[in-house]
Symmetry: C2
Subunit: 213 residues, 2 copies
């Protein structure tokens, strides 16, 4: 299970350093795994591919993680925990804010989560339910969808939103627009995240057409 250090000979003096190759902790392995899953597809990626990507032996990786599924589960939880926090906050009207204000806020904060956690959200959005881990993630996604649809329904009931499109369809489409960011957004690109969040809110709530144009 010990790894071969760069060039420091056979007698490693620090026993703690013998567990795992220097430079790779679990977080770094997870980041590399998510990047590889997104690039090659999760099902097409083996632990051997991941080891090769990191320049590690397979035993060295299994020293840190028990399975590919464990890495997938950690990445999906990372995305889901963030999104759940945003949606839970928006579902509570403790501050006396309107549902409409909270809906605009959840759009803005979802864009932030998506940009800050783009690799794990990308992976989440591609999950197809091919394993227990994926099915559990889909169930958590469904809970989010239901809360968002309820928030849209509340905003319609307040009279703030048009009532001619079903709330569940509105939330699918608006958050479909938000989620589409993962496919093209680059933090170093032409648009910063505040600008993108503002553009999505402008399109979704106010529309593109000039009124009385």
């Amino acid at each position: 299970m010990t790894t071969t250090g760069p060039a420091d000979g056979p007698a490693d003096p620090a026993p703690a350093r013998r567990r795992g190759r220097p430079g790779y902790d679990q977080a770094a392995i997870l980041r590399a795994a998510v990047e590889l899953f997104n690039r090659k597809g999760y099902d097409a990626t083996s632990m051997g591919d991941l080891a090769k990507e990191l320049g590690l032996t397979k035993p060295a990786i299994y020293h840190h993680v028990t399975s590919k599924e464990q890495l997938l589960g950690q990445a999906l939880d990372d995305a889901l925990d963030e999104l759940t926090a945003v949606v839970t906050a928006a579902s509570q009207d403790a501050a006396g804010t309107s549902a409409y204000e909270r809906l605009r806020e959840v759009v803005r904060r979802s864009v932030e989560v998506l940009v800050a956690h783009q690799p794990s959200v990308t992976l989440l959005l591609r999950v197809r339910g091919n394993s227990e881990v994926e099915l559990a993630a889909l169930q958590r996604r469904r809970w989010l969808d239901d809360r968002l649809a309820a928030l849209v329904a509340d905003a319609v009931a307040e009279g703030a939103l048009r009532d001619d499109v079903p709330p569940a369809l509105v939330s699918r489409l608006v958050f479909g627009m938000v989620n589409s960011l993962v496919e093209w957004y680059r933090p170093d690109g032409a648009y910063d995240r505040a600008m993108v969040a503002e553009a999505i809110a402008a399109i979704a709530f106010d529309g593109l057409a000039r009124h009385e144009a």
Copy 2:
């Protein structure tokens, strides 16, 4: 290369029938391949998996198609040819229609293409550029994106659309909303395609907020 027929003995009297197993033509193999690519991921699917799915031998499949890449290319061309036709029509103002009218129309027709060709469009939207075939598809997608951004810019120049969001960002977001359909839309579900197209146009152009609510 001949296949073993169901139970019709070694002497097949119709030579034409010996080419390919009865019941599978190239179109049926392509449909099954696209379904499997979407379910398992393209990179994780082998020709052996496809043969198993169809209950064919690998040689029987290779009688119809030369490679997995050929199937991918055919599916991507199916989606791209349809989308290209829609976008090309919208880019021509031969009928004297406004850019704004043509933009609303291209949204509506894109929804139709997506619903009618959902499996191949789903595959197209998941392409990551891992092969020559995928890179060629990405190049055709980029052409579509550029044409759509130009159409948005024309509608802004007409004075029909707000000018505070860059046209390329508008087209990414609006068609991101359209494309998000592939992840959840079911033709036998609660919403028919005309209703979905209408909802997207209502959100994108008119906005959800009630004016003066």
